[in-house]
């Protein structure tokens, strides 16, 4: 389950540092909203298409990213063409597509580990009151806890299925939460015993 959305390839975009990519993405999105209009949007669309081609993403990747958003975009399109006109509706929907694809370029060309490293490296410049060690601990613990929670959930569901309760969310969630809270307390004590803090 814990595979990121990274797409393996070698391109200039893959080699750019995560911080720069995120910065450019934020700038790009802001510009699209500040200079609103078909010309900016078309330029943005061309830029995103170039980046997509450059980073080696295939059409199926593009479809896979846009598919979850299709229904809500369709709803917005219908509402807008009813309220204003079809031209404006397609503008709004097209802008969403460009924004989502621009973000996809960053996500698909950057490994999660690089991104996390980038965040932690960026924290070095943060003021001293920011608890850097604790942020690093939280991020790495969370990545470790996700498989743990899933495996506890699997156990609990097996047990409740034997009682005919595996469709009952309360009967699944209470043991899941209590068992993982106990584990978390043990982990906290183990970290404390090793004098991390």
């Amino acid at each position: 389950m814990l595979t990121d959305l990274y797409i393996f390839a070698d391109s200039p975009l893959h080699r750019t540092r995560p911080g720069i990519k995120i910065g450019v993405l934020v700038l790009f999105c802001t510009l699209l909203f500040v200079f609103e209009g078909w010309v900016t949007l078309a330029l943005g669309g061309v830029a995103v298409a170039l980046c997509l081609a450059l980073s080696g993403l295939r059409a199926r990747h593009v479809v896979a990213t846009l598919r979850p958003a299709v229904w809500i975009l369709l709803a917005i399109f219908l509402v807008q063409s009813y309220l204003v006109d079809i031209l404006f509706a397609s503008f709004v929907v097209f802008r969403f597509a460009v924004l989502i694809l621009a973000a996809t370029v960053v996500t698909a060309t950057t490994r999660t580990s690089e991104m996390v490293d980038g965040i932690l490296a960026g924290l070095q410049f943060a003021p001293s009151w920011v608890p850097k060690n604790q942020i690093a601990l939280g991020v790495s613990l969370c990545l470790r806890f996700i498989p743990l929670v899933l495996s506890v959930f699997h156990d609990v569901r097996q047990a409740q299925r034997a009682r005919g309760l595996d469709r009952n969310l309360t009967a699944l969630l209470v043991p899941l939460v209590v068992r993982t809270l106990k584990t978390a307390d043990e982990v906290a004590q183990a970290i404390h015993a090793r004098s991390f803090d």
């Binding site: 389950m1 595979t3 990121d4 959305l5 995120i22 999105c29 979850p68 958003a69 809500i72 975009l73 709803a75 917005i76 509402v79 309220l83 709004v92 924004l99 989502i100 621009a102 973000a103 996809t104 960053v106 996500t107 698909a108 950057t110 490994r111 999660t112 991104m115 996390v116 965040i119 608890p131 601990l137 939280g138 991020v139 613990l141 969370c142 990545l143 806890f145 996700i146 929670v149 899933l150 959930f153 969310l169 309360t170 969630l173 209470v174 899941l176 939460v177 209590v178 993982t180 809270l181 106990k182 584990t183 978390a184 307390d185 982990v187 906290a188 004590q189 970290i191 404390h192 803090d197």
Partner: protein, 205 residues
Amino acid sequence: MAGLQVESRTVLETRDVVFIALFAAIVASLAAFPPITLPLAGVPITAQSLGVMLAGGVIGAVRGGLALVLFLVLVATGLPLLPGGRGGFGVFLGPTGGFLIGWVFAAFAIGYMTERLWHRLNYVLAFTICVLGGVVLLYAIGVPWVAFVAKIPLSTALTGSLSFVPGDIVKALIAAGVIMTVKRSYPIIQPKAEADSAGRSGRPE
């Protein structure tokens, strides 16, 4: 217990960080729950916003809110932790981005109200808290966001979002039950008041 005499200059103790990481992981795992389709609304609901209510109601305001911040950071780094394997920066730029940001405030608000009413908390109260934080406040952030980025009138955005309310009410019902059971069996929240009516400290065990 861990951190009993830890220097007071750190804002969060290690135990708090562990709980924050745990609830970020629980919210992430809830995306993998099979979605339940409500018979009356026909809208598939996912269990993920249930995790938001639980984060506030089980580990409290500050930790619950930070757990959601951590979760959203991991989503932004490109992990497919949202239902349907969505993730990355794109989800914040999409129409429903406001609801994701709103989760942080919803978890904080639910946690704050739960801490305040800890000794008097019962099922009805917990349900009311979950509805106020997880539905009223969440929609107050998410709906104007949709209206702004999709350029539709506020009223249209509100009507469009109303079909999700029955599902969220069901989730609040479930969350309230879980919060009350966990409060009895493994309480984590320590209310601001030092001692309850019997003079015991709020600490478990």
